[in-house]
């Protein structure tokens, strides 16, 4: 049952089926339960077992076909159509009658068996009453974090405490830091997943879902929603939300649940951009978001384009917060690529005046960092790069004049030799000083090549030297043995 055509035909056929029997044993078992909504599918106990057995008995043909064990015969098809007919007729009837808990549970469990059924249903089946019931179920679902008994590992206690505390005060960097530990253990059940999926097929349902998440006193339901929905829907709910906590968790979920190499479609990127734009109105909040999401940009590769576009039209402090958040490194790597993606997106949308401002801020951040001079415990032992290189090329091309760039390169070339006149405590310090100047020279040498049209403005991956090391061996041997 994967073909959309078959689904469409069967939906039509099932809608007109008269009479339908439906999952009688399952409904009967549910009706005998004290509280079917709290009866989890994996629970032990007699009541749960009866429900489970009845479910399996009624839905056997569908379950078997889901496992790929069945080639449909007429009897199986009849069972399929009957269950689907019951499902559709029950949905149609919801607005006319009061939906009982056992029927709601039956609908959710059968929807789960049909897989992604909500998106296939004609809109008439998703009535207001159904949406209200699904929203109520989501809103009533409680999540809490606990540890394994009183003597659980210390690190678990402490991570939970830190996470809970961070949730209470909205400390997003700390939430992001513990996300990998906490988020995977928050597992919504199938009823919750189906209710969320049902809500997300209508605009009204999405708005309701965003409202529910906004009203929650913790981020746990939002994390659970992040597990149920795909990136596109998460971004839509995020864009509908008015609370930063919901927006943050949905964006963080979207990043975390997304395969590392996957990219987002244009609609999702637009939603993420719009979320960023909303948050940027609050500088303090934005600064927190950046420290949470942008410390290591490689971890949020999929949102870099949206991030870059969101920076267009923002004030200086917003851009500074973006730049300051990055934990700059001196080596080639994914962070450098991710920052280049972001800056490239910014460059494609921003007017020249704003680009100049951004490149100047980038250059200032880079100068202050100075290849991590203050924080480094290990001296530079090779030519270093920076995550900001793409923006530095922008600085050289769009801020500096041609003359300034040439003068700067000449000055740096001189400095490369003058550096040998200083006194050094040992060869390591000497090498480090040389590599520092050569590293600065690199990026401007690349920009000079771009300016004259020999190279494209992209992320430099080649190493440049102020001389040909194969021809000028004296210079090469004087400036370090690793230069070739």
């Amino acid at each position: 049952m994967s073909s959309e055509t078959v689904w469409s035909e069967w939906l039509e056929e099932a809608a007109n089926l008269e009479p339908v029997i439906g999952p009688r044993r399952f409904l009967c078992a549910l009706s005998e339960c004290e509280d079917p909504l709290t009866l989890t599918q994996s629970e032990g106990g007699e009541e749960a077992r009866r429900v489970r057995d009845a479910f399996r008995a009624d839905l056997a043909p569908i379950l078997r076909s889901n496992r790929g064990e069945l080639s449909f015969n007429d009897a199986d098809k009849a069972a399929w159509l009957d269950t689907l007919g019951w499902f559709l007729q029950t949905l149609e009837g919801i607005d006319k009658t009061c939906l009982k808990a056992d029927t709601l549970v039956a609908l959710l469990r059968i929807a789960a068996v049909f897989r992604d059924v909500w998106n296939r249903l004609p809109p008439r089946y998703i009535g207001d009453n159904l949406i209200t019931h699904m929203a109520a179920l989501i809103g009533a679902t409680q999540f809490s974090l606990g540890i394994r008994g009183n003597y659980g590992p210390i690190w678990e206690h402490e991570t939970l405490d830190a996470f809970t505390q961070a949730d209470a005060v909205g400390d997003w960097p700390l939430i992001a830091q513990h996300w990998q530990t906490i988020a995977p253990v928050i597992m919504p059940d199938s009823d919750f997943e189906e209710a969320a999926a049902c809500l997300c097929v209508s605009e009204k349902g999405k708005k309701l879902l965003a409202e529910i998440l906004d009203q929650s006193s913790t981020i746990l339901p939002a994390i659970a929603i992040g597990k149920c929905l795909d990136a596109a829907i998460l971004s839509e709910i995020g864009a509908l939300s008015v609370e930063n906590r919901t927006r943050f968790v949905l964006v963080q979920s979207l990043i975390f649940e997304q395969p590392k190499t996957a990219s987002l479609d244009s609609g999702t990127l637009e939603n993420v951009r719009s979320i960023f734009t909303s948050v940027q109105n609050d500088e303090q909040e934005w600064s927190q978001w950046m420290r949470a999401l942008n410390r290591y940009p490689v971890r949020a590769k999929c949102i870099q384009q949206a991030l870059g576009e969101s920076l267009v039209g923002t004030n200086r402090n917003t851009k500074v917060a973006y730049l300051q958040a990055i934990d700059l490194s001196t080596s080639y790597g994914g962070c450098r690529d991710a920052v280049a993606t972001c800056m490239s997106a910014f460059r494609s949308k921003a007017p020249i005046v704003e680009r100049r401002e951004f490149w100047e801020l980038t250059h200032q951040r880079w100068k202050d960092w100075d290849f991590d001079r203050a924080g480094r415990t290990v001296p530079l032992m090779t030519v270093a790069v920076s995550d900001l290189d793409y923006g530095l090329v922008g600085y050289a091309l769009e801020v500096l004049s041609e003359g300034d760039l040439e003068d700067g390169l000449k000055r740096l070339t001189r400095e490369m030799w003058d550096v040998q006149d200083q006194w050094y405590v040992d060869q390591t310090a000497f090498d480090s000083a040389r590599y520092r100047v050569l590293s600065v020279w690199q990026i401007f040498a690349y920009a000079a090549q771009v300016r004259v049209g020999r190279l494209q403005w992209e992320l430099p991956i080649r190493r440049f030297l102020p001389f040909d090391p194969n021809l000028d061996r004296f210079a090469a041997m004087s400036l370090g043995t690793t230069l070739r």
Binding site: V425, F430, R473
Partner: protein
């Protein structure tokens, strides 16, 4: 002018001639000077002049913003004066000194001692051995340099400094914060004037290529190439194992085979000028690298710092037993391995004979500080050597001592043994051995601790099976190919750092380990077991 002075000037002329060793047009003169009220001339503490190519004229200046003052030398202050002299001006100053005994490199004269001109010497760059003179030379990182030196033999003018080592140390430290001249460790050079001629006419790199030792030579673009003689020699176990010599103009040339072990020394000889243009110290090449890797877990071991119920909690982050990986050529397939093992043994013996030790509480005021220092040292030894096991042997050993030491071992489940004789300090009431053992057991069993990764057995040596012992040792038993190590504590763990004692690595650690093992095996009955975790 004395002959040796004339020879000195002749060597100066040769070394400063353009293209011989460099293209010097100036010398950077750095003088560390002492000033004293009432004395018109400053005193030379140390002076170095370094040959410069294209020396940019600069303002002569003191490099120190404020006068350098040293505790204990209240009547003096110091300064570091940097100036640039043309080659001719430095030569004239030297000549004037040889003729008149007055050292006046610039407008003012400087008081110097009885300076004797000494023969030029070649100083290679540091290699596996550090060369003392490189602590006072400038950037000697390439081919090496020649030094001409006026040596203050008796040092009368700086006696007040050489006789006051703390002041000398402080002065050297303060100077090296401004410019890297560490003359405190070269006190024989105090009062001297050194002229450094960096070899900048040519660059030479000795290395390995295609199973051979080779050299690459490249000339300064403004110096005409001339024929040189390159030599390489490789030594191992005090024997010369390879030697090669080739004429070379420039480029790369092979000198001799590289047999895969031993150290290389290279020389570049300019026969036309009778000068070395490059020489290396002993160079060793990395052929095998051993990599220890251990996984650090997220869960710490927690335990109370003391047996007090309100004691603060200590944390030790645990790692797994380290795994050793070798990268590169397999050392066991080379004769270098057995020879290296024998050399290592010899060096160990030499070290042992030197009786290097650490002393605690040597001064009355240091006791409080030294308690912590001594415990830190013990913990560091345990961290460094205790992955395979730790044995602690001390007749006064009690629960607090075990917390202070063995609980701090970061290697998870490292087997640890503790052996006591249930002795207690004289100010503590003595209980019956069984009662004391029960009390120790209770204390160790009821700690506010998760006992994570703890693997300790605590026994007593008392009773008919055991015997008295007096010495205290921290032992790291032999494991695999690692020899046993042992440290004599010199006092009980409960007193380390409190009163004077010496922590000393002992010779024949294996004998100590055997002795411990004998007693440990003898007292393996339940009567001697105090506590064991896990049970």
């Amino acid at each position: 002018m004395a002959d040796q002075d004339a020879e000195f000037l002749s060597q100066f002329d040769l070394l400063s001639s353009p293209g011989v060793v460099g293209l010097f047009d100036h010398f950077e003169l750095v003088e560390v000077l002492a000033f004293r009220a009432g004395c018109p001339d400053p005193t030379n503490i140390f002076t170095i002049a370094v040959g410069l190519e294209n020396g940019n004229p600069c303002t002569a200046e003191f490099l120190n913003d404020k006068r350098i003052r040293i505790a204990g030398l209240k009547d003096r202050f110091f300064g570091i004066y940097r100036s640039l002299l043309r080659v001719d001006d430095l030569r004239a100053a030297l000549e004037h000194f040889f003729d008149n005994g007055v050292w006046k490199p610039a407008a003012e004269s400087v008081s110097v001692g009885n300076l004797v001109a000494v023969e030029k010497r070649f100083v290679p760059a540091d290699s596996i051995d550090q060369i003392g003179l490189n602590r006072v030379t400038k950037n000697n990182f390439f081919n090496g340099c020649y030094l001409l030196e006026l040596f203050d033999l008796n040092k009368p003018s700086v006696r007040w400094l050489t006789d006051n080592p703390p002041a000398l140390q402080e002065l050297s430290r303060k100077v090296s914060e401004i410019i890297p001249l560490e003359f405190a460790s070269l006190s024989d050079r105090l009062g001297n004037i050194i002229i450094q001629f960096p070899i900048d006419a040519v660059r030479a790199q000795f290395g390995i290529g295609g199973g051979n030792y080779q050299v690459e030579v490249a000339w300064h673009p403004q110096v005409e190439e001339r024929e040189l003689i390159a030599t390489a020699t490789s030594e191992h176990d005090k024997s010369i194992i390879t030697f090669g010599q080739r004429k070379i103009l420039s480029g790369q040339t092979t000198l001799c085979p590289n047999v895969g072990y031993g150290t290389l020394q290279g020389f570049l000889w300019d026969a036309g000028n009778d000068l070395l243009l490059a020489a290396t110290g002993e160079i060793a090449f990395l052929r095998t690298m051993s990599l220890n890797s251990a996984v650090t877990g997220p869960e710490p071991r927690v335990f109370p710092a003391t047996l007090d119920p309100d004691a603060r909690q200590e944390r030790v982050w645990l790692s797994s037993f380290p795994e050793l990986n070798l990268i590169g050529s397999d050392p066991t397939k080379s004769i270098a391995e057995p020879i290296g093992a024998r050399i290592f043994e010899e060096e160990q013996d030499n070290l042992a004979r030197q009786h290097e030790f650490v002393q605690y509480a040597a001064e009355p005021k240091s006791r409080g500080v030294d308690r912590q220092r001594a415990l830190d040292d013990l913990r560091e030894l345990i961290c460094s050597h205790g992955a395979q096991g730790v044995w602690l042997w001390d007749p006064f050993l009690g629960p607090q001592d075990i917390l202070d030491t063995l609980f701090c071992n970061p290697t998870s489940n490292a087997p640890m043994r503790a052996l006591t004789f249930l002795k207690v300090r004289s100010d503590v009431e003595k209980k019956a051995n069984a009662d004391l053992a029960a009390s120790y057991r209770h204390k160790l069993s009821s700690l506010q601790s998760n006992y994570l990764g703890i693997n300790i057995e605590f026994r007593s040596g008392h009773g008919p099976q055991g015997w008295q012992f007096h010495d205290r040792f921290l032992i790291f038993p032999k494991s695999g190919d690692k020899a046993a190590k042992a440290w004599s504590l010199g006092t009980s763990v409960n007193g380390v750092g409190n009163s004077h004692h010496i922590l000393q690595q002992v010779d024949n650690a294996q004998f100590i380990a055997h002795a411990f093992q004998r007693l440990w095996s003898a007292v393996d009955g339940p009567a001697n077991l105090i506590w064991k975790f896990p049970e």
